[in-house]
Amino acid sequence: MDRLLEHAKSLYADRQRVALAAMMIAFSVTLYLFYSPGIYAIPAEPPIQLPPGWVQGFEIVYSFNTVGFFLAFAVMVFMYAFWSWAFLPTPAVNYTSAVLRGIFGPRSPIAQSIGKRFRVVLNEKTWIDLTCHIKEQGSGAWFVYKLTSSSLRTSHLEEIALRHGFGTKDGRLTTWVSSDELHSRSILLAKAMALAASSA
């Protein structure tokens, strides 16, 4: 793996650890905040005849405090999920854009958008979309990219896709590439798109 990606990987692991620690602290703080002021029980009949201690416990659990606490916890989880969905560690961004710039030259604009996505605009009508996955779920591989071309109008699309080792979906060429293939397969994708454009 590239040195930049190694760096990004360790950075990501560190940040995950920091996020976990912060979440544990935030968890205990919210727990304290939501249960210390007093219990606002939701009025309800205890289901069966229970000893009074149990009824008290039931009131604490079945209360607005718990509802609020769960909401706060859900917000925390959501923020974590958003953070890991949206952002790619900076060294990985540098690696990706350096590779793309190396192939497509300084004149093709590369736009980065939230959600670890990149778009290389080749000319007015064609572009390549990249989505990066920091860690692939099933295989545990780091930094896997999904490449998607813009929609291509040609009757030979299947054939062109096969002959460049890509799959097709909705009239687009798609493929998954690992970080060490990013360079060579983006070249092939650009070539395949040029072929498709000229055989339209």
Binding site: L122, N123, E136, Q137, G138, S139, G140, A141, V144, H156, E159, I160, A161, L162, R163, H164, G165, F166, G167, T174, T175, W176, V177, S178, D180, E181, S184, R185, I187, L188, A190, A194, L195, A197, S198, S199
Partner: protein
């Protein structure tokens, strides 16, 4: 970079040419499957004449194109994928299980992560075929309908006899 590569004509030429999807080539693999006997017979004689003429034709400009494309494709893949295609191309009429494949390519990880990652991607790109025999046992083979891999299998059958023997011997050590 997007100048006309004069491709339309070449695609059309290839359609009718020797490397058209389902042409004369894959007719013989079934007959000559040397599937798994420990002494490997010399490859079949059926269909070899056709193969020779095809390979001679390859020196024409038009039909050398698939060779270029095959080299380019193999060069674009990473080590693991390349090793998988080469191994599967050599053992072709046979299919292998995930465990066998990971041994053949010298993969140190678990075969489950191979399935979920590299193999799934190769299957999506139609380079290999995966048949589910039982929920835990899969048969993996190269896709010979693929225009370029068909050529690879051809070349392996023609020149890769010794390599093929090595791979098959590795498969038989149980």
């Amino acid at each position: 970079m997007f100048e006309d590569l004069n491709t339309r004509s070449s695609i059309k030429r290839n359609r009718g040419g020797w490397f058209s999807g389902n042409g004369d080539l894959p007719s013989h693999p079934r007959k000559c499957s040397g599937s798994g006997s420990s002494h490997v017979r010399p490859l079949c004689s059926c269909g070899h004449k056709q193969l020779d003429t095809r390979l001679r034709n390859m020196s024409d400009n038009g039909t050398r194109r698939p060779v270029y494309e095959l080299i380019q494709l193999m060069a674009s893949l990473n080590e693991t994928k390349r090793a998988i295609l080469i191994a599967l191309g050599h053992v072709y009429p046979r299919s292998v299980s995930g465990v066998q494949l990971s041994r053949l390519i010298g993969y140190s990880g678990r075969s489950r992560s191979l399935y979920r990652g590299v193999l799934a991607h190769l299957e999506q790109d139609k380079m290999i075929l995966i048949d589910e025999l039982t929920p835990k046992l899969y048969a993996i083979r190269i896709n010979v309908e693929h225009p370029l891999l068909q050529l690879l299998v051809d070349l392996c059958r023609e020149f890769g006899e010794e390599t093929r023997r090595i791979y098959l011997r590795a498969l038989e050590e149980e």
